[in-house]
Symmetry: C2
Subunit: 334 residues, 2 copies
């Protein structure tokens, strides 16, 4: 498999492989005439250096890894597009790994990557992530940039959005629309991302003199059918007047639950969700969203990683915070 190799090229030129190799690397030991001859034939015969061999020499894989929970989540597919755009300008390949929220798989991926397959890692951590020591070991050995889903116990370079402000403002938006019994669908509660979102919700309630009611708070089960059943139970038992969902995956189960219970959105219940769904404006009713700048986050995280690789980034614990946008649509009584 593959095109002509170095040995064959040398044979065709009637030169030693060492001479050809040096000529291709533009070594001063080789005469300009020989270099010209070698380069011309290499081009003509479509010679491409074996990356495994040249990696051994340069110690660069020209590859970065992106580790994310789910590719089918619109936030992540858009973020990857941003990462790719930057990788392309550096002539790098992008390896994509999905953890499906499984932290064991996540650590296994990272350990595997340590053996020299990539130059650096961009990661948005799995929701069940717990073992910080594993992360610390890996960060000590390979440049890593965290984006979106981060862990406050790990000192690392991070790119996030304004999670606290986002849910604070979304909660205030519902209060302005007359809501008082605001349910909160919590997710990512092991991560600072999820904790900050939850804090924003609580603070907005407190600032508006609304007591926090634990019965209105539901935790993501990581299973769509179970989430839908739990949401229905919450709607029947507690009769909230609105719901904030802290991840995109929880928005559609709310719509299905309301459909099943014949609840009209937004008359009977208002809904706002973190979401990068392209179809949010076309849903029935159109969905109010907290939309993160996914593409920009991917670009920024990748740019920082390349700065680290090129030794031009000097803030080992720097955090870049981008702003999300609240888009008000019919589901919150537009």
């Amino acid at each position: 498999m593959g095109n002509i190799n170095l040995k064959e090229l040398a044979l065709a030129l009637n030169l030693s492989t060492a001479t050809v190799s040096r000529a291709l690397r533009d070594s001063h030991e080789i005469s300009p005439e020989t270099k010209k001859k070698v380069l011309e034939l290499a081009k003509k015969l479509n010679y491409e250096p074996n990356p495994a061999a040249s990696n051994l020499r340069s110690n660069k894989t020209k590859t970065i890894a992106v580790i994310i929970p789910e590719i089918t989540n619109n936030f992540f597919s858009q973020a990857i597009n941003g990462i790719e755009e930057i990788a392309r300008t550096h002539d790098y390949h992008v390896l994509i790994y999905q953890t499906h929220e499984n932290s064991e798989l996540e650590i296994a991926f990272m350990r595997r990557l340590l053996s020299g397959r990539v130059d650096g890692i961009l990661i948005s951590v799995a929701s069940e992530t717990n073992n910080n020591q594993d992360f610390k070991d890996i960060i000590n050995q390979l440049p890593v940039v965290f984006f979106d889903r981060v862990n406050e116990n790990i000192d690392a370079v991070k790119v996030t959005t304004d999670d606290y402000e986002s849910t604070y403002n979304a909660t205030c938006h519902l209060i302005e629309r007359g809501c008082r019994k605001i349910a909160y669908l919590m997710a990512l509660n092991n991560l600072s991302t999820g904790k900050k979102r939850f804090e924003g919700y609580r603070a907005a309630l407190t600032d508006n003199s609304i007591a926090i009611n634990e019965a209105l708070i539901l935790t993501d089960s990581n299973n769509e059918d179970e989430n839908c059943a739990q949401i229905k139970k919450l709607l029947v038992n507690e009769q909230p007047d609105s719901i904030i969902t802290s991840i995109e995956n929880l928005a559609l189960p709310c719509y299905y639950a309301c459909k099943d219970l014949n609840l009209n959105i937004p008359r009977d219940i208002k809904i706002i969700s973190f979401s990068n769904l392209k179809t949010a404006p076309l849903l029935n009713p159109s969905l109010s969203t907290i939309t993160q700048p996914a593409f920009e986050m991917g670009k920024e995280a990748a740019s920082i990683l390349f700065k680290i690789l090129n030794k031009k980034y000097f803030e080992p614990n720097g955090t870049l915070i981008l702003k999300s946008t609240i888009i008000k649509r019919e589901s919150t009584g537009f």
Copy 2:
């Protein structure tokens, strides 16, 4: 960067690197006691072989590439999940490339992959793909399996869906609903995928004694705004009673165009689209779809690629055809 290397491991054991290397490869030249000693320390010190070095030996990269037009298209993100599931069982990495429908980028990716970076390629070709010779050159050098978007002029292993039958049946569904002026939004017209979809539409009209009206046929411009403008023009000038869109990307522009023109779906116009959108049932109105088994297609294509890699597949031009499903919802007058 990286863990302990072979040299350091040998030093720690007070053995030569050659001996340690042979012990790790379970060579008969090394005594069982030495092997045991080497393996125990290798494990203890977390030694992992350098993949660049071991790739040179085994000539296997343990990596496959997936080349697709767009990751944000639900069909492709679901197909990737299927591919990944199979790759994982073979302990392979998956490299993902997006062409953004650019055939030059597509060929550049493939040429780059020829240099030994991957063991095989799964590809769904870009819509503007034209140069068959480039593909033929690559297929001669590396195992390639085509899925979904294929080119009839290339002899290769292919996994597709029943494109002709899908549009034939979708057209008949609209005719049963009383439609006679059925517009067709054409895409992928350089590929057999697009051609077969178009043929299915034409055949259904002919079989139902409806003349083919060229004015009702619009071609994808590959630009969302332009598509939306063209669709609006078509709706105003030709007043079709229904639309079939031959790719998912054209469905939402139809919804926006109807909104802008105050046309009621399905009363004024019925719509059915190829789509793997998860939100199709929740759109306003819910969207009737031709849904491809994306996850299954990814699994099947990857399974065939691994059979080829393991020399267990013997049909160089075999085509596997999976069935799509027509899901009737409100947008076609449910």
